[in-house]
Symmetry: C2
Subunit: 387 residues, 2 copies
């Protein structure tokens, strides 16, 4: 039976984004596609904390989030220099980064509003904005001398109109690995105040920064608290991808409205929330282990790729993604990925899903053990040498 007449029209028109779901992945393939390290599990001390909390009876509705968890998040976030005055009010517990993005735009977008995204950008953002009837406006990043894309403040100014409702900043950035500098964030905040728009600041990679620039929270700048919606997630930090815990941090006047989005998003497992407190208090050693592993992976693989013929790859400032330029191979990014998969069973992601600037690029997620990464680099090298 045809069902189109029953549908929300934005949903019906939506082009589902490309995921690895539709692909047949032969056994023995090396999958460098999504950002979830399959060989590392959520650490046992967190599983223990979940189990303990469940046995203690924390299995009931937690309508407004666990206050102690909210305070622990605010304390954690203060290490970046941001003060959350009223954590119980300003922290909204939700079920992860994707939920946070949805919740942020659900609370703020009206049909016809413009939302500026940098380009390239994480492929899951545009659909959310389009679902709510918003119009995606792209602001191209520029490549610095090393080839690393950075926000272009002049291009951003040019993208702002009277209809600009929000700007999405992914910092540290997926897929580019760019860490926004304090100067860039101050310039963005000035524009937000001047033109009166909000900033959705997706900061889920803030623990994985490789240069000496500290993570700088834009919400801490003057007049930005009620103009910033910070997206945080436990997924990447604690390999907690499958347990769905995250939060929004925002200003005290904005959060009561975000809480109105009638999804009962606050209803995150109380046991997970208690385990989140434990993770924040006792998780640093595990995070340090991940950080070292990812840093080794990006240093090794970016160097290997950059040395290959027809590929140039910078060392990213942050994240476990590489964003090599493969245009000199003569293959488009989609062809590059399908032929690489066919020839060597190595799966990487074509850049076209990330925007105009994704042309000639692929995204490589380094969440696989080093021996597999060495093998993958050998295979990619063999592949490009044969072209």
């Amino acid at each position: 039976m045809s069902v189109e007449r029953f549908l929300n029209k934005n949903l019906a028109e939506m082009v589902p984004r490309r995921t690895s779901r539709g692909y047949v992945i032969p056994p023995g393939s090396i999958v460098l596609y999504g950002g979830d390290p399959r060989d590392v599990n959520q650490p046992k001390f967190i599983a223990d904390a979940v189990y303990k909390a469940m046995l203690e009876g924390y299995t009931h509705y937690e309508m407004a989030g666990v206050p102690e968890f909210k305070r622990a998040i605010a304390e954690y976030y203060s290490k970046f220099g941001a003060t959350v005055e009223d954590p119980v009010k300003q922290v909204i517990i939700n079920s992860g980064g994707s939920t946070g993005i949805f919740q942020a735009f659900a609370a703020t977008i009206n049909p016809g509003d413009e939302v500026i995204l940098f380009d390239p950008t994480y492929s899951a953002y545009p659909n959310v904005i389009q679902y709510f009837g918003g119009k995606v406006v792209k602001s191209l990043m520029y490549d610095d001398d090393g080839g690393l894309p950075r926000p272009d403040i002049e291009a951003l100014k040019a993208a702002i109109t009277d209809r600009t409702k929000a700007l999405l900043v992914c910092n540290p950035d997926n897929p580019t690995g760019c860490v926004f500098t304090e100067g860039e964030l101050r310039a963005i905040a000035d524009l937000a105040v001047e033109h009166d728009f909000i900033v959705v600041s997706d900061e889920i990679y803030q623990e994985f920064i490789w240069n000496d620039k500290p993570h700088f929270p834009i919400i801490s700048l003057p007049d930005m608290a009620d103009r910033t919606i910070v997206i945080m997630s436990f997924s990447k930090t604690y390999v907690w991808t499958g347990c769905r815990v995250g939060c929004i941090i925002s200003g005290p006047n904005l959060t009561p409205y975000i809480n109105r989005v009638p999804l009962s998003l606050g209803l995150v497992s109380g046991a997970f929330q208690r385990a989140g407190i434990v993770a924040l208090k006792e998780g640093e050693e595990f995070v340090e282990y991940l950080r070292n592993r990812y840093r080794d992976a990006v240093e090794y693989c970016s160097k290997r790729l950059d040395e290959m013929p027809s590929i140039s790859c910078y060392m990213p400032e942050a994240t476990f993604y590489l964003w090599p330029d493969i245009s000199a191979t003569g293959l488009g990014e989609v062809d590059f990925c399908s032929k690489l998969m066919e020839a060597e069973n190595v799966m990487v992601r074509p850049g076209d899903g990330y925007g105009v600037k994704g042309k000639g690029h692929v995204r490589i997620a380094l969440v696989t053990p080093m021996d597999a990464l060495v093998e993958a680099m050998d295979k990619i090298e063999r592949f490009v040498k044969k072209l």
Copy 2:
């Protein structure tokens, strides 16, 4: 800082529904407000199953839901006589009933669409519809000879217009405890097919039925599969309120679109999904315990209330809610609740939040141990005798 200009306009206009959150509840109060039995925890065999799954590494993304869980749900649902042909496609795992309702309307409502709700109705539905720009149209239930509200098919016919997109059926019903008969559901399905609208069928109380009418799934009727969105939840069945697992069952042509709602709703903890399989396979003894307990509570309390001066209360056909008529006390439903709280520290919920037919009614949730219920009934009796 004022933030109204940043907001989605439907959200800004929304009147947040009344919850127990804002109330100061003195120690020693008996709270018969929400549907979550605080003295019963999720059973240990489920907590064990969650822990086991986490240790086994089921803590990663589960983008599309666990197929084995979907098949177990379909098998469970078949006991009501409904066949789910393709569980992997037709079952969508989500984080509970509230999420399911949101997801159903997110997928189907366009601004201006009309959604029919029976009146009285669960107080959380209207906000979701209004958030998506839908118009709530009420169809008053009629009271049968015993005072139990039932769907009025003639009133429903009169509520249907060219703009009718959906009808929400809560079966078994909250707050009335009405179990829709097969005849009523066939009449509703005929109207849905004739006037080409969909039925959102919230069936989260289907395990708690007190009469001999079996639960009848409207989705099993001819031409209804792609016209019905069944909402199910593990929250009530397994006192799993705080662990957020539920699902949608719908037709094979509709579910791909529901899956497009860009919330990553499929991302429910894999450990919870594995525990859900265990709950469905081994949970019947626990559900039987709950069923006996709730049946005893509704039988005892409905009789006690019905014997009190100025109160009439029928025995509901299902659920652990009572819906007494308190209009003969001379107090409005809001006054009744606040004065009862003041005089006796017993907290029940005024009916006005449930619609026009909530006037003169209160909802009493019987999720407290029997000794507290006896005490609560004594206190309510003393309260009404003093009026």
